[in-house]
């Protein structure tokens, strides 16, 4: 009898500049990454995650939000996102993206939060990416290596 098992690909690091990302009280002005092309990976499911490090003396009891955007035609992205690593403010359109996770934060300086989630869209979009925004009150940590976004593609194979 055949069985179906997950097959894990290699992890891919996203291009996204989170160092010194400014805080936004309204949780709108954040940073998006360079889009990931699933047309080559052909993942059925994606395990995405990363780390975000707060800055110096952040305000306690705030949050970091992680959203996923994607294309519906290969060119246009939800919430008006672009295709490259850039500041992005989806004013009035943030909920057109998919909420991935909410990271509650404390007042500890330079606190690194490791987050993760499984992106199991009914069908993986052709292209997708990650948007991060926060309201911790101060810029995120200024060292690029203290932040990252990665994903592992998963395919289901019959053996």
């Amino acid at each position: 009898m055949a069985t179906v098992t997950p097959s894990y690909g290699g992890a891919t690091t996203h291009t996204i500049t989170l160092a010194s990302l400014a805080s936004d009280t309204n949780l709108i002005a954040g940073r998006q990454d360079t889009v990931i092309d699933n047309g080559s990976e052909l993942a059925d499911v994606v395990v995405v995650g990363g780390k975000v490090t707060t800055g110096t003396s952040p305000t306690a009891a705030r949050q970091i939000e992680v959203w996923a955007y994607y294309t519906y035609d290969g060119t246009t992205y939800t919430a008006g996102a672009g295709a490259s690593d850039a500041n992005f403010s989806p004013t009035g359109e943030k909920t057109l993206m998919q909420l991935v996770t909410i990271i509650p934060t404390d007042g500890t300086s330079n606190h690194t939060y490791e987050w993760g989630a499984v992106l199991a869209f009914p069908v993986m979009p052709q292209k997708w990416g990650i948007f991060i925004v926060h309201n911790t009150g101060v810029n995120l940590n200024s060292t690029g290596g203290n932040h990252e976004v990665k994903h592992t593609p998963v395919k289901f194979v019959s053996a």
Binding site: A2, A61, R62, Q63, T95, P104, A120, P122
Partner: protein, 273 residues
């Protein structure tokens, strides 16, 4: 979608499954305005607000786990009412000497409060969502993912832990097994309250509840929730995708699995190829 009310729409249950302490109510709410008294969930005497449990938006721009006895209100106020922003509220009527509220504000901060005024309302027999018993103090805004139990979800009656509050907000009540088992009614309000309820309404150990509308409740955008939010009877998304992947014989025996749900069993049968 969410249950949208504009001050003239609400729904009434004239035979509610809960009539006394303890009660817990959770809901996402998005008020349209601030500075007013607006009832979200209201358990009262029939057509009379003198004795009641009620989750209220208060005119001080806080959320209120309210109890009233012969018209005398005892408030338990916390959090911030922010217009046009989604807020998760968790109200607990624990005992006649203990009410608590937990709020996940729209900016991610949390707030808690307790009221220990002795209050024992009687003859509670009408449950209203979106207004008080006779349509007074109508809520204007959106209500979604509303659920309630006839228990206190934290057995020691203490302040709800922030981790539990966030788990209930972003994972849903069915993501916490000991709470899921006590739910009397859950309504996602992703669909109209009286149309197309399949998969969006759950009734616990009590009977199916009957609601009567006043006005014409409408539907509106739903609060953003993670893909991991657990609904009561939706098949595991992964299994749905496997079943539609073409890898399996569609005429083979069915597999049913609703992981994380305390009511449904996981059943697996061998596939045939």
């Amino acid at each position: 979608m969410a249950f949208a009310v504009t001050g003239t729409e609400y729904i009434i249950n004239s035979s509610p499954p809960v009539t006394t302490y303890p009660v817990t109510v959770g809901a996402w709410v998005r008020p349209a305005a601030t500075g007013t008294f607006n009832a979200v969930w209201h358990l009262s005497q029939t057509g009379n607000d003198a004795d009641r449990f009620a989750l209220y938006q208060w005119n001080t721009n806080q959320w209120n786990t309210l109890v009233s006895v012969v018209g005398a209100d005892s408030s338990c106020l916390a959090g911030t009412v922010t217009a046009n922003a989604w807020i998760f509220v968790l109200a607990r009527w624990i005992s006649s000497a203990n009410r608590r509220i937990g709020v996940l504000n729209s900016n991610g901060s949390t707030a808690h409060a307790q009221d220990t005024t002795s209050a024992a309302p009687t003859s509670l027999a009408q449950l209203t969502i979106g207004a008080a018993s006779l349509g007074g103090d109508p809520f204007s805004g959106q209500i979604a993912e509303l659920w309630y139990t006839n228990t206190d979800i934290q057995a020691d009656g203490a302040q709800l832990q922030d981790s539990t509050l966030r788990q209930l907000a972003y994972g849903g009540p069915f993501s916490v097994p000991h709470i899921a088992g006590d739910i009397l009614e859950y309504r996602s309000f992703r669909k109209h309250p009286f149309l197309g309820e399949a998969g969006e309404v759950y009734y616990g150990g009590k009977a199916i509840q009957t609601w009567a509308p006043t006005g014409t409740p409408t539907i509106a955008p739903h609060p953003p929730l993670p893909g991991s939010y657990i609904k009561p009877n939706a098949p595991v998304p992964l299994l749905k995708r496997l079943l539609s992947s073409g890898l399996f014989d569609p005429t083979g025996p069915a597999v049913i699995a609703t992981l994380g749900n305390p009511i449904f069993r996981v059943q697996r049968q061998p596939w045939r190829f």
